[in-house]
Symmetry: C2
Subunit: 456 residues, 2 copies
């Protein structure tokens, strides 16, 4: 056995190779507390060259690597299964000046979404993806998992923001493509192959990101509707009538109760409703009137409250955004993240409770998500002890239901370790075989994130 | 030697295996007449199953395949180098009903763009990509080369329209992913890897395509400006002030003269100008007033003419769209398709004539293209005899100039056989090596489009 730790210390400095269990611990358990494992050590490179040195040392020693950004992932893709070298990219946190003419910026993989947003806004532009974990989630992790969030309706997922990447392959080869040209048809789109590959093909070290116009005026409506079908009617009206629509989120009474208890929030409406929709418009000038006109003419609206001042926006958004924290405070959830064609959404929501109850009678399902894409986050609480595998049974039952509705087992969280046993519900044997061929071509020894995405 | 032709006849029917030189000829020379080669035979499968049978027969015989759609490619990617089995996908021409709720449609690879547009518009929707070769170019070819065209400004390139693909690998494996979900993070994006791979990784047989709103009201302005810098000033004003902007094209006096002579068109303005810009807005209601307001306040405008009736739109567009045909009528051009950052565009245009004159003193460069993306089509006429390799010298000199301005050697036409010797001007050795690894993983015997894209 080589002295891998010694080589890693030479590569990044002794202070950035953590072998002590107390120092490793924050990196070894994910945010949901569901995924945890012991790393051989935690390495914190501060540059692409240091990442290359780390990867080469690991490759020479045959040591597997797990890659971690802000550790906000939800499918166990960024924490060790056991024994890997954990490479944290948090120190790759450089930001270059915003290129206002091209509306692009190059940043390090460890830059947080919040830092990126602040940087872009200071130049009069904005970043197209936003999500609740913005203070911790990093650009590299968001690219690796093709993060979505609340503005996909307007700007697309993370893949759509990637104009270029720098990434390190398992043998230490650096792929650099940061020119950010608007069009470039000179061969395979390696950047888009690496995006969404969950660290299994390459380690993203820098990214050239597209920026979007900064829209300073926002208006938000929280709308009470009868249920999923009515929410879809509201969505249709909003999409047609609101050119400035930037978000359309849905949640349900169970989630509202949990969020209200957690955040001590008042009831948003005098009467309870079957479902709640948050609509946001973003524009150069106040879009409130457009929202009010749409709401006043849409039969699906039972009640609605609209805000356009900062405090009001935050208050209305909090009913939706506090879901994740409120759920986490209530227990260790089994998190599912699914997407079905919009025509199947109502049936899926209706069939969920019975499907879960059949395998976990005491479980509660908290459902919320991104209405426009048919993307629901299902959080199952009190599924039962891990000892009797009840969480696995719930996952299996729900994912099979989703597949029967032509849906996907992972819409924006990725597959990770959590969903890899169910990958065949969303991908054909031929696709999985093709993915393995690509994985073997770029990482023949399987050193990068083993056990993530592709089933063992 | 096996009786490959006999097996191909069994696979697709004797009438669809063309071995007679006269029957093969229309498939063996491309539209520009610059690329030509002899095929072993031309095979015309009519279904995915027939494509699989053809590919398996070729694989068993070790016979190379060249894939052809509408034969409108401009870089020699769809015509034989010599001796390949030419697989024409023109008969895969089925269209499924438009899914209006999801705004998607599934069509065969051999469907022409025009047929797709007609089909989408009959359902009240439209297709996001448009280009002058619409009556011949097919969906499969447009995906293989990631076609761009005149509406990329509004809707993105062909890749952005692909919601799903069915494709056949070199061993006959069928990858099918036509669900078209708005979000799906379950592994590598094989569809986006195949898109733009120019037939070297897989044969696209069907596609699930995104559709866009049908915008019935259009207005076009043909604008005279002093030159490239002024055109960029006009573009900036148009992008800020015209939310409905759908195209911004540029051409120059040499091209205008050629087009006028070819199409017997009148001079568009009383005075000649340094450059001409075509702006199009598309909306639900007539956008003419918005265009007029923008033009009246933009200092870059020397003169302008605006139309919104059908005849007027066609008349103004013809100055731009007739370029390709007018050039082809004038000779066999050396076609280059490049893209630089917008900040480099003026310098590139200024340096082009001298760069070409140094290697081909009698040549003429006709320049036109897509202003918004910095994407210029450079057509070099009268470069000299092929015998003295003057076309290659011109290509080499221009592509090096483009690379020096941080540009790409192929913006939307692809690399094909034409540009593969220059691939290293746009991609690093590491990227080319990674592409070869992926090619070898999916097509280990190199049967699909050998000689295309990757240099020998």
């Amino acid at each position: 056995m080589t002295d891998l730790e010694g080589e890693l210390r030479s590569a990044v400095g002794a202070a950035h190779v953590l072998v002590d269990p107390d120092l490793r611990a924050p990196y070894e358990t994910d945010w949901t507390r569901r995924f945890t494992g012991t790393a051989r050590c935690v390495v914190r490179p501060a540059s692409t060259a240091e990442v290359v040195a780390v990867v080469r040392a690991c490759a020479a020693a045959g040591a597997a690597i797990v890659v971690q950004g802000g550790n906000t992932g939800l499918v166990g893709a960024g924490v060790p299964a056991g024994g890997e070298v954990l490479v944290s990219l948090a120190r790759l946190a450089g930001v270059e000046p915003v290129d206002v003419v091209e509306a692009q910026v190059t940043v390090g993989a460890g830059v947080t979404l919040e830092k990126l947003q602040t940087h872009a806004r200071a130049a009069g532009l904005d970043f197209g993806v936003d999500l609740a974990a913005r203070s911790s989630a990093t650009v590299g992790g968001m690219i690796a998992t093709n993060a979505g969030g609340i503005r996909v309706l307007r700007h697309g997922s993370m893949r759509a923001q990637v104009a270029g990447l720098e990434a390190v392959l398992a043998d230490g080869t650096v792929l650099t493509r940061l020119g950010g040209l608007a069009k470039d048809n000179t061969g395979y789109d390696l950047n888009q192959l690496v995006a969404g590959s969950e660290g299994t093909l390459a380690i993203v070290t820098r990214a050239r990101l597209r920026l979007v116009p900064l829209l300073p005026a926002r208006a938000v409506a929280l709308v009470a509707v009868a249920g999923t079908e009515a929410a879809l009617d509201l969505l249709t009206a909003a999409r047609v009538q609101l050119a400035t629509l930037s978000a359309a989120e849905i949640f349900y009474p169970e989630g509202l109760d949990l969020v209200r208890a957690y955040g001590r929030l008042p009831a948003p409406f005098g009467e309870p409703a079957g479902a709640y929709v948050v609509l946001e418009c973003a524009a150069g000038t106040d879009p409130t009137d457009d929202i009010l006109t749409m709401l006043s003419t849409c039969p699906a609206v039972m009640d609605a409250t609209v805000a356009s001042d900062r405090a009001g926006l935050e208050r209305l958004w909090s009913y939706r955004e506090a879901h994740t924290e409120a759920i986490s405070a209530a227990g260790v959830p089994t998190k599912l993240d699914v997407c079905v064609p919009l025509g199947e959404l109502t049936a899926l929501v209706a069939e969920l409770p019975e499907t879960v109850a059949r395998v976990a009678p005491k479980a509660t399902v908290i459902t919320f998500g991104h209405l426009n894409e048919g993307n629901l986050h299902l959080n199952v609480l009190d599924a039962g002890d891990d000892s009797d595998n009840r969480a696995e049974d719930v996952t299996d039952a729900v994912l099979r239901l989703v597949a029967a509705h032509r849906g996907t087992i992972s819409s924006e969280h990725g597959v990770g370790r959590a969903k890899s046993p169910w990958l065949s519900l969303s991908r054909t044997p031929e696709e999985i075989a093709a993915m393995r061929r690509i994985k073997a071509a770029l990482d023949p020894d399987g050193l990068l994130n083993p056990g993530v995405l592709l089933p063992d």
